[in-house]
Subunit: 591 residues, 2 copies
């Protein structure tokens, strides 16, 4: 069984010392009250809920899994999930970042990101039920009309219902242009939705009395491909005029998937059989509407990588402290014990520092990105909003793509420290590896993130976000150019960032000559960008320790991990650069 | 459900064209008959057994798992395992490489390695039952007396019984010096063995009527630590004088583990309660005796990495061929279909070529190493035997450590190509990832392999094996220096090999000054060495295509993959070099 303690000190360090979130947030529109005191109080409550209610259901939920009853087409979630959701709803967590007039608390997104980390560390499977609601809320908020919001959004914000996002079909995964689900208009301004959706998280469950599905489908006159897709609301139960539940709608789960991990999350096949639906937004503009919530969803999946890695690290560090095996290379460190602990082994420290560098670097990057979404939404200055918006667009594929991939490594190393004991289910480490394996796949595979970064954010949008980001790094480097204590970080960061810019320009030219070069370079470019972004976060973390009021040991750990990152992780860029330079000629046709 | 087809063409290419195994084997003592015809016939039969009998039980065996009955302390293996073992035994596979006077067929080890790949691809969990027997056979052959061999070895060679290796205890994993199991001498020259062993593969099962345990334990007068360990034979059933089974011995399974993968393999807690045992070899020399079989066991685990990666690659390649999704970057490749297949995406080819480079490079390296074990055992020239022995000692930690780690990447990329469908149990890809996760842990973790390579094989033994290996690479490079078609491979190979030698010397000096430097560099040095070894195998593969009689497409695929390896995988050495140079200063104390 694994332990979990909410890493509040690390979260506060990242939020306040590294990112200066308090000053930023209180200067935003509606941010007067978003002081450190308020934020800290929220983080503490979220930490308690996660430690006390969610964390204990993580292993049992995995073992028990969800159960589907074919006769009634109902899903039973694992023991404890329903009660946890009740407490979550009662605590107002479902509406944490939603506007007050929908019943939310209008707290900053960056705080939502921080609390999401805590909940996901507690129980990733469970956290998927409210996560999908969040996406549905955003869609309804941005694209629904007043009647739709009143009717469908408010109950989700209150935590009485949950939402889903129904995109994927058997023949339409990464390529949603291939989807076939049909929507036929009826006389009363509703639509009959017919088709089969797969991989629908929280498509059916027993946590709430109703579920609101947001469904992509084609109208009869829809153009082929991705420009002919519209977005619809389909409620599990039809509603009476007063919003109370009426008869079942013609939508039901046909099966749940048996998966490698996140076994407490109900991944459903959803059958729509002329189900009553309401169009949201404009006809044929459904994909664009979906994409407006994609950023939030992708950021949240990046946070899943952080959340799993954090909990895996906590446990592997404890194990390395307590497991006695062999002696230090330079002689017994604990001669009065039968053997030394694993921490005396430099190779074990290498695995632990790798995890730390990934976890804390990822946390800073994710919170940095989330903070930009707050600036984007609520800065008083339009130019600031615009710049933040570009930064978000640019950083999302990195935050999702790289953090989720690094979580594979991080959870793997955590298991490795346990040796053979890591492979045994009851020790809990293997669940993190299994759970983590989904996050490079859903909400856009790593390849999709890479294509989004290089193809859309760099080439199509001419790298505006990249330029802002590089300018910010350059300013940071200049600001600290004379800081002796940061010398070993600032120089390499400035050099690597310069190379990043040069490489991007060269690559853009090559892609112009041959579009296939985009696909040949994209994933390595994604990693390269991610390692620079994390280097920037680690340099900022190292720069931040001088001002903070933490213990000397806490500060030293940050400086040590920053040094480790720069000397042993950042050099991975060399490999990715070589791969990028190899070009599409290195990827010949396969028959 | 996944498919499997024995990769006989690739095996033959590696064996005959790349490694010249026929000429080598027929020149060895007792090797007259070991012609290509004979080897091919054996490979074909092994392929049939794997495809037809083992492969169909892989997914079902995982789903069903092993069942332990507490009352009778018996294990029921999954459906089909017993019948498969019967066919395996009847085919004489259990004694394939064992001496004829024990009932074996005395075929070369390299052939055993090749057939082991086929069986492990078919069903890794199942293959662990005969694998552990092999280790026990080697121990009995090398260290048992005539009476012990007659009594215990022959029935295993005949496939009537199986064997185990009982090393690990709860407090003694990587550090066997900590083990506590006791052996007390009795009047009749036997010993009473008492203690608990964990993680015992095939410790209890229903495939055969008896099981022979090889158990590490301490005699009453044993010195503390690893120099006080002896090796004992404990038979599940005591034997009558004629070798027939008598009463149960006081050894039994107490439980089986619930594991992340290899769920068809019974991983047992074994309780010895004054069980009757026989000492093998000298008192207190048990660990040395165990180590003589370690090479074979570690090589076989390296082969597991290959076997899983091969099957995962076959399926991900098929999927990439058949799955229609999106269009090629430079325009529709299959305009008459609703979408192009995944193969048109350079990023998907990158994932496939990564797998191919790992799979076929690993196969060549493992067979090369196995061939050296045949030379070591049966060359007519003593100097050749000595050199092969040094090469084997040097290559085993690489073959085990690096191939198993690369199998993590390879199986992960195979799953990734399936997108979300890779996460669904019934598609079978996630089982490869789960099964693969054990192989970097058992038979010595990657950290243990790294320490063995750098600490023992390079520094203690003064790198004799490395020198032979580097000389061989240098000779190969010189031989092909003027070959235009290999120019892009030979130059980088020669340069990288030179750097490897230089780095090794520098590292040796640093370790002399501070032994902690060994642990700080070992794992990165292991990877670095592995990537050079694979580069050599790929250069040899590219050089071999000109002489072979395969199709042009087959040859082109080898050249393409070699080019891919050199341009996109070999540069990983840059990162590992930087990490090695960072030294132990980059791995500060963690409290």
């Amino acid at each position: 069984m694994t332990q979990y303690k909410a890493p509040l000190d690390d979260l506060r360090f990242a939020l306040y010392d590294v990112l200066g979130a308090e000053a930023t947030l209180t200067a935003l529109q509606g941010g007067d009250g978003h002081t450190r005191d308020l934020l800290d109080a929220v983080l503490e409550e979220a930490g308690k809920l996660s430690e006390q209610v969610l964390a204990p259901t993580n292993a049992s939920g995995d073992e028990e899994g969800c159960h589907f009853d074919k006769a009634t087409q109902t899903v039973t979630t694992p023991k404890g999930f329903k009660e946890a959701f009740r407490q979550f709803a009662e605590g107002g967590w479902a509406g944490l970042t939603m506007a007050e007039h929908f019943g939310g608390q209008a707290l900053p997104s960056v705080l939502g990101t921080a609390t999401t980390e805590l909940f996901q560390s507690g129980n990733l499977s469970w956290s998927l039920y409210p996560l999908l609601s969040e996406g549905a809320c955003h869609a309804l908020e941005l694209h629904g009309n007043d009647w739709q919001r009143e009717r469908f959004l408010k109950p989700i914000v209150e935590g009485r219902w949950t939402g889903t996002m129904c995109l994927t079909e058997p023949q339409a995964g990464s390529d949603l242009g291939l989807l076939k689900t049909r929507a036929e208009p009826t006389a009363n301004n509703t639509y009959k939705i017919t088709g089969t959706k797969i991989f629908i998280s929280a498509g059916e469950h027993d946590l709430t009395e109703n579920i609101i599905h947001l469904v992509l489908a084609r109208l009869p006159d829809a153009p082929a491909g991705s420009r002919g897709i519209s977005l619809f609301i389909v409620s599990k139960f039809k509603l009476n005029d007063d919003g109370s539940l009426a008869a079942r709608n013609a939508v039901a789960a046909g099966a749940i998937e048996h998966k490698m991990g996140i076994r407490g999350s109900a991944t459903c096949v959803m059958n729509f059989d002329a189900a009553e639906g309401y169009l949201i937004g404009q006809p044929h503009k459904g994909l664009a509407a979906m994409f407006t919530m994609m950023n939030a969803a992708r950021l949240a999946v990046g946070v899943q990588g952080l959340a799993l890695s954090e909990r895996a690290l906590q446990n592997s560090l404890n194990y390395a402290r307590e497991r006695l095996q062999s002696r230090a290379l330079s002689g017994a460190a604990f001669p009065d014990k039968p053997a030394d602990n694993l921490l005396v082994q430099p190779d074990v420290r290498r695995m632990l520092l790798t995890q730390r560098a990934i976890v804390e670097g990822s946390r800073a990057l994710l919170l940095y990105t989330a903070l930009q979404t707050d600036i984007e939404a609520r800065a008083t200055d339009e130019a600031a909003r615009k710049q933040a918006s570009e930064l978000v667009a640019f950083l999302i594929p990195i935050a999702k793509g790289v953090v989720t991939e690094l979580a594979q490594e991080s959870t793997k190393e955590a298991l490795q420290i346990y040796g053979g004991h890591g492979y045994i289910a009851e020790n809990g480490m293997e669940q993190f590896v299994r759970d983590a394996r989904i996050i490079t796949l859903y909400e856009g595979t790593t390849g999709i993130q890479a294509a989004d970064l290089l193809g859309r954010k760099i080439l199509q949008l001419q790298g505006v976000g990249l330029k802002y980001f590089m300018q910010e790094i350059a300013a940071f480097c200049q600001q600290h150019a004379k800081d002796e204590s940061l010398r070993s970080l600032i120089g390499p960061l400035a050099t690597a960032t310069k190379q990043w810019g040069d490489m991007t320009l060269q690559l853009a030219q090559r892609v112009q000559a041959n579009p296939e070069e985009l696909g040949a370079a994209a994933t390595d470019y994604l990693y390269y960008s991610g390692y620079i972004a994390l280097a920037y976060m680690w340099a900022r973390s190292a720069a931040a320790v001088s001002a903070g009021n933490q213990t000397a040991a806490f500060k030293q750990a940050k400086l040590d991990t920053a040094g480790f990152y720069f000397s042993r992780i950042l050099p991975r860029c060399l490999t990715h650069q070589a791969a990028i330079e190899a070009g599409v000629g290195s990827l010949p046709t396969i028959i």
